[in-house]
């Protein structure tokens, strides 16, 4: 923005009414206050991040960073702490959740941008968004008392038939499991992924979509030739964003994942994720190094989610940058 008041013509007038001077000091103070605020916030949060690493340091010292990350045994009564069962659980549940949520989200986004009657799009969109407003503890409550009993017979049926041949689908099938957690996570990530995807799809050039229709293309052709190819990068960003949410989700997962410190080889086995083991064991962590080990798990979660979100931000920036230069 250029400063037209400061052009030579009215410089005198500006000087006379004292505008420039007051303005200069006022703006300087304003900037100073804002900068101080930003620096203070950054420092405080940085200090907190460092603080959690410092608290976790004894655990990293005892087991080594690699040793802690790859350790498969988590036995607080023997002061034995390895993060692998929980990293495994986090990765398994998040990927399973995405496997369920992504196709559903993409179809919903297509429905709400291209396919549904215009009058229905708004209300249906709000309904999907409301899924994101339900607190995660309420999903957990529902998952524990409704979802788990409902999917247990399904788990047993699959484990008893297909599971005999396919490695990851066998018993045990107690009900609460990685799979139950993945289903809950899918429910919780669909509104996030579909909301971002919908925005991306809606921003694809309207003229091109209409051109396809004018050429005699069907709505499938519009999706195939315009919406999906152009929206691809944005879709990827949406998926990574959903992944970040799934990785960090805590309470709902804690209530349905089965709470086992062991690595379950079947998706129907009970287990733990990084976030859920911290939430579940923290208030009863009395053994040596147990609280520190849980905080160390928190730092692992911190690093993973920062990496994932940095990925999402990079993709998003490239996408919007592409939009600017491309259209």
């Amino acid at each position: 923005m250029t400063d037209s008041v400061h052009s030579p013509d009215n410089a005198d007038a500006v000087e006379r009414i004292g505008l420039r001077r007051r303005r200069w000091t006022g703006d300087l103070t304003f900037r100073g206050v804002l900068a101080a605020l930003a620096v203070a916030t950054t420092l405080i949060l940085g200090f907190m991040m460092v603080g959690s690493f410092v608290t976790a340091a004894p655990v990293y010292e005892k087991f080594g960073i690699i040793g802690f990350l790859t350790g498969t045994k988590w036995e607080p009564s023997f002061t034995l702490y390895g993060a692998w069962p929980f990293i495994y659980g986090t990765v398994l549940t998040s990927l399973l959740a995405l496997l369920i949520a992504v196709p559903i989200s993409v179809l919903i986004a297509l429905l709400l941008t291209d396919l549904a009657p215009a009058r229905l799009r708004g209300p249906l969109g709000v309904a999907v968004d409301l899924l994101a407003a339900v607190p995660s503890v309420v999903y957990g409550l529902w998952g524990l008392l409704v979802l788990v009993p409902v999917i247990r017979p399904f788990e047993q049926a699959v484990a008893g038939t297909i599971g005999k041949v396919v490695p990851f689908l066998g018993p045990p099938t107690p009900g609460p499991s990685y799979f139950a957690a993945a289903v809950i996570l899918a429910v919780m990530t669909v509104p996030i992924i579909s909301a971002v995807t919908r925005e991306v799809f809606a921003s694809t050039p309207r003229l091109q979509r209409e051109a396809v229709l004018a050429l005699g293309g069907t709505r499938w052709d519009v999706a195939r030739t315009v919406t999906l190819p152009i929206g691809r990068a944005g879709l990827l960003a949406a998926i990574v964003l959903g992944l970040g949410r799934a990785i960090g989700e805590t309470i709902a997962v804690t209530m349905v994942v089965g709470n086992s410190d062991n690595i379950g080889t079947s998706i129907f086995a009970p287990g733990f994720t990084l976030a859920s083991v911290i939430a579940n064991e923290f208030n009863e962590a009395t053994e040596t190094l147990h609280p520190e080990a849980l905080i160390a798990l928190g730092t692992v979660l911190l690093v993973i989610s920062v990496l994932v979100n940095a990925g999402a931000i990079t993709i998003r920036n490239r996408f919007t940058g592409g939009l600017r230069s491309g259209f």
Partner: protein
């Protein structure tokens, strides 16, 4: 491109029409799949929670010290939730507004760094935020407290409010921005008495969404406010919150009273969260209508 288009949209054949219709059908199925949990969660929580909610004791009494015993209410949790979220809002909103103005109106390398921090914070699991406050505040003070809970919720709210305030400030209509400059207003005056008031309804929407996010959070409170079976207004003491109460009672859901209490509290929490959420949406919709002639 032209030849490609011709190849793609060769004379209409039945297969393509079938595919288009299949797409619509699959999409409709996907939508129904996504909405089943919504209806099921609301329906189930409503059906099971309404009985507790209907008695006034539920709001005015504290729960019994033994979760499995019948009777009592959730007063301590309701008050704790409102008090901690209220304080969190008071902490987070000025900081968020300052960060947003700094990023949009001042800019520079420091603003970029702050913007990056907000992005990182937005993607941080709330349980990690709880750990931050635990290692810095709870350990230092030596005890769990409502204050620590408020700080955790403030950090959860901060990115939500900042991002939406930023978006609103970026949308300040150019003629109005130029008008403010033409009047010879200093930048800070222009921002504080023109840009912020113009975007106020949008900023409030962001605050409401931030509150509705923070109010439903459980994970960060486990390490900070911990929960408390008794009523307290003292921010130096451990404090109960609705999500914590739901969590603890749900884990004891083998006992019918605990289960009923969890559902009553869940219904109450959903109503509060939806209230804030829908209020925010309504403000946005109203602003869109008002701004449509721009």
């Amino acid at each position: 491109m032209a030849s490609e288009a011709l190849a793609v949209f060769a004379p209409t054949d039945g297969r393509r029409r079938v595919k288009a219709n299949l797409l619509v059908i699959f999409a409709a199925i996907a939508l129904i799949l996504a909405l089943i949990p919504l209806v099921a969660v609301f329906g189930y929580v409503f059906a099971n929670g309404i009985r507790s909610m209907l008695s006034l004791d539920f709001l005015t009494q504290d729960p019994p010290s033994d979760l499995s015993a019948a009777g009592g209410g959730v007063r301590n949790a309701l008050v704790g939730t409102l008090e901690m979220t209220g304080l969190a809002t008071l902490i987070a909103v000025p900081i968020a507004l300052g960060m947003a103005i700094f990023a949009v109106e001042v800019g520079g390398r420091l603003a970029q760094a702050a913007r990056f921090l907000i992005d990182v914070l937005a993607g941080l699991p709330s349980i990690v935020v709880g750990i931050f406050i635990y290692t810095s505040v709870v350990v230092t003070e030596g005890h769990f407290s409502g204050l620590a809970g408020s700080l955790a919720l403030a950090i959860v709210m901060l990115p939500v409010v900042t991002v939406s305030a930023e978006e609103i400030l970026r949308l300040t209509p150019r003629p109005i921005a130029e008008g403010a400059r033409a009047l010879g207003l200093a930048r800070w005056r222009a921002i504080m008495s023109v840009f912020v008031p113009i975007g106020l309804s949008g900023i409030i929407t962001g605050v409401l969404l931030g509150v509705s996010r923070a109010i439903g959070e459980t994970a960060p409170l486990i390490f900070t406010s911990l929960g408390n079976n008794f009523f307290t207004l003292d921010l130096n003491e451990p404090m109960q919150a609705l999500p914590l109460l739901i969590y603890r009672n749900a884990l004891n859901s083998a006992f019918a009273p605990a289960r009923d209490r969890a559902f009553g509290a869940a219904l109450l929490l959903i109503l509060i969260v939806l209230g804030f959420n829908l209020a925010g949406r309504w403000l946005t919709a109203r602003r869109r209508l008002a701004g449509s002639n721009r």
